[in-house]
Amino acid sequence: MLSDPVLQIRNLSVEFSARKRTIRALRNIDLDIPRGGTVGVVGESGCGKSTLILSIMRLLAPNSKIVSGDIVFEDRSLFELTEREMQSVRGNEISMIFQDPLTSLNPVISVGQQLIDVQYRDSVAKKVKQQRAIDALSQVGIPDAEARLSSFPHQFSGGMRQRIAIAMTMIEEPILLIADEPTTALDATLEVQIIRELKELQKQSRCSILFVSHHLGVVADLCDYVVVMYAGEIVEQGPVRDLFYNVRHPYAQKLLECDPARIVRSAEKKFPTIPGDLPDLGNLPGGCIFSNRCHSAFDKCETHSPRRTEVSTGHSVSCHLY
Amino acid sequence: MARTHKRLDGLIEIWAHLRREPLGIVGLLIVVLVIGSALLADALILVDPVKLSIRDKFMPPSLAYPLGTDYLGRDIYSRVIAGSRIAMTAALVAVSISAGIGLVLGIASGIGPRWLDYSMLLLFDTLRSFPVVMFALAVVTLIGPSLTTIILIIIVISIPLFGRAVRTQTLTLKNSEFIQSEIAMGASLPRLMGVHILPNVLGPIMILAAMEIPVVIAMEAGLSFLGFGVRPPTPSWGNILNDGFKYIRNSPWPLIFGGAPIILTTLGFTFLGESLRDVLDPRLRKES
């Protein structure tokens, strides 16, 4: 599909068991992340974005099970690694920024110590590690970094804490960075700054980024490849320009229409909605998963699952219309 | 009619949950056993629990004396059965009175003016700061040892437990939206208390009371063991232990069989209380 991918996800399906029911959270996911590229994943909450990320990190809750598929990172299957080997991948080759900066740092350990702790693999002097921590903090724009090493997370604002989290990944110099809605919990003005920091980070370390968001504007700005997820499946994926200007899947179309930026620009100023509810992932209907909410569904949609069709180079969609 | 149905449904639901907790069932069985023996004590005893037969002193368990005899030749089995009545009386009376007082003080503290709340909290803290046994001993010295004294002491030291719990619950309710809107619509204080707050604090109170019963039983037995509780020769479990302790080198049986019902009963009530809390307290109810 794309040349030299860092990470390849093939036919990944994940299930949860909850209250004697099986929730089929992810089904047949295929996704490549190109080296040095930025892939955006968009979709409503509950569409399986977080499950996808946690599958890559192998940090899924104990009640979940990988039913099929494989994730290949730098020519190694992540599912075949021992826990110990996986641990040396996390934070070293694959790093992650979480959604809520207010709760992702340990509240009783100083920020400096936490920045030093992530370097535990390096056998350099503590002084060196400390200097790295200071450099990283100044780089993400935290003033007076050296003095603030001994501060605790609650003494920083939310935006500052997200910068600290970015500084952490900066120190780790990962090959792949996963950012799980890193700006959702922040103000709009901070969002711009954080995105800028991420771009800067990528420029420096040439890492690949998997960026999860439901903010389409940010995705369009930051990413060069976009994946649209719905109810545990990928419905459309493609290069950012193709997808935004030539969107195919009815769900992806609706999603783009819902983007506030477009609504403000349009004449009607009316928020479109998608009628109906997400299908029950514990009891999936046959056919296309979006058929119950789709405005252009026809007979075949209720009975047959659509297969993935390539509509242009790198741009594919799963819909019977194409 | 509908009310009875609702209550019945509640009981059935509790039973359905409890059935899946083996420890809760064990606890329930023990509790039923102890309450049963307290109620039917007169029929269950073999001989008069205070009847002496000096010739038969320090007997090991036998057919005539299922749990042996003490230093005066009294039948330990009959004394244990009679003792269950004392223990249950003390527990039920003390817990219900202190829960009642705690309920009133707690609600008053929760909805009353700030100065009242503060003085209540100070009162609770002060009562709690007495080392329990020392406090009990001081009181016994003053008004003399008896079952009433023990019940009185237990009431006083248990009030803060109930009071604090009710206060917290009341405050949470008071700040909840539905009560706030009632206040905004001009509902009167007594109405709020009776209709909303009281029914909502009863659940937690019941759980606390179930958990407090073993503490009370231990307290009664402990004070009687020290010789400051129920007056001998009345057969309280603590008195059986006291006698057994004095003659520990002559026979181990009074000590063994005086202690066993205490451990059994406290464990029974605790296991039952724990399971009930899991069932009744929605915040702690396990996802299943």
Binding site: D117, A165 | M134, L137, I256
Partner: protein, 312 residues
């Protein structure tokens, strides 16, 4: 922070004063004053009047209470009318025994309870966790004095492994004498601590920052014992203060069952003699120790948690 510490100490003082006043009032509210109770029914009016004067009971109640506090502050807890010795001296001579017992009880319950809680929390719902859970509840529920009596019967009287009475001579002897009483007073707290540590450990393990630390590849060992335990231990610290307070009271049974000198044994004998100055003195000292312990644990807790430390 300093304000918090001062406030907390102030509250502690208020509570101690209130508690003692309450006790004093209670003693004087009951029918028959202490002098009559102490001397028994056959005391002559002259004797009673004499004792009244010696104990200061002839003055009005508020004056009595104030002068009582005045004397307490100058270290005078009154005179034991039976032994003709100062109460303060008698109490000070036995306090170390009680403190050692409480210390030993807390020490072994911490040493066993915390690892047990951590161990269970890291294997939730395993059979080991379930057994540990049942044991914890059982340890908490079983009255300490019955545990003590059974221990005495089994290990001292029947098996003869440990001495039956006394405080022991020399370090080894004292230690030998300490085992069973410390077991008795600490067993329930093993259960409490295990439960509290397990619960708070599970709570912290579910917090976001734990997943964050794992996502950054920190070793299991670091995550569990530094990142999680450091937070999970805080409620245990608070409870230790309460534990010390409760044990001060629980030692009464252990000291009587194992015939150890100490505050509990002292008040037991004083109650039998109706020795009011001694009773008052002992209750005052234990109440103070109790309040000091809980206050200290609150302050230590605030110091350990930077979130609280900051807010104060």
């Amino acid at each position: 922070m300093l304000v918090y510490v001062l406030k907390r100490i102030g509250l502690a003082l208020v509570i101690i004063i209130l508690a003692v006043t309450l006790l004093y009032l209670m003693i004087h509210a009951v029918p028959g004053d202490p002098a009559t109770v102490m001397l028994g029914p056959r005391a002559t009016p002259e004797l009673i009047a004499q004792l009244h004067q010696r104990m200061g009971l002839d003055k009005p109640l508020p004056v009595q209470i104030i002068s009582f506090f005045g004397r307490v502050l100058s270290g005078d807890l009154g005179t034991d009318v039976f032994q003709e010795k100062p109460v303060a001296g008698i109490i000070i001579s036995v306090v170390p025994y009680t403190l050692i017992l409480v210390g030993a009880g807390i020490a072994w319950s911490l040493a066993l309870g915390i690892p047990l809680g951590v161990f269970s929390a890291l294997r939730p719902d395993s059979w080991i966790d379930k057994v540990a859970g049942i044991l914890s509840v059982a340890f908490i529920a079983m009255p300490a004095f019955v545990v003590g009596l059974y221990a005495l019967l089994l290990f001292a009287v029947t098996l003869g492994w440990f001495p039956v009475i006394g405080g022991g001579e020399g370090f080894a002897g004292q230690l030998h004498h300490l085992v069973l009483p410390a077991f008795t007073v600490g067993l329930g707290w093993v259960g409490y601590l295990a439960r509290i540590v397990r619960a708070s450990m599970l709570e912290v393990l579910a917090e976001n920052h734990v997943r964050h630390a794992r996502a950054h590849g920190l070793p299991q060992r670091v995550v569990h014992y530094q990142y999680v335990l450091r937070i999970a231990i805080l409620p245990a610290v608070t409870i230790v203060g309460i534990g010390i307070g409760a044990m001060l009271s629980g030692v009464v049974f252990a000291e009587i069952i194992f015939a150890r000198p100490g505050l509990g044994k002292l008040i037991f004998v004083a109650v039998q003699q109706r020795n009011f100055p001694l009773i008052m003195g002992t209750v005052l000292v234990t109440t103070t120790l109790f309040v000091v312990a809980t206050t200290l644990s609150d302050i230590v807790n605030a110091l350990l948690d930077p979130r609280i430390r900051e807010r104060l």
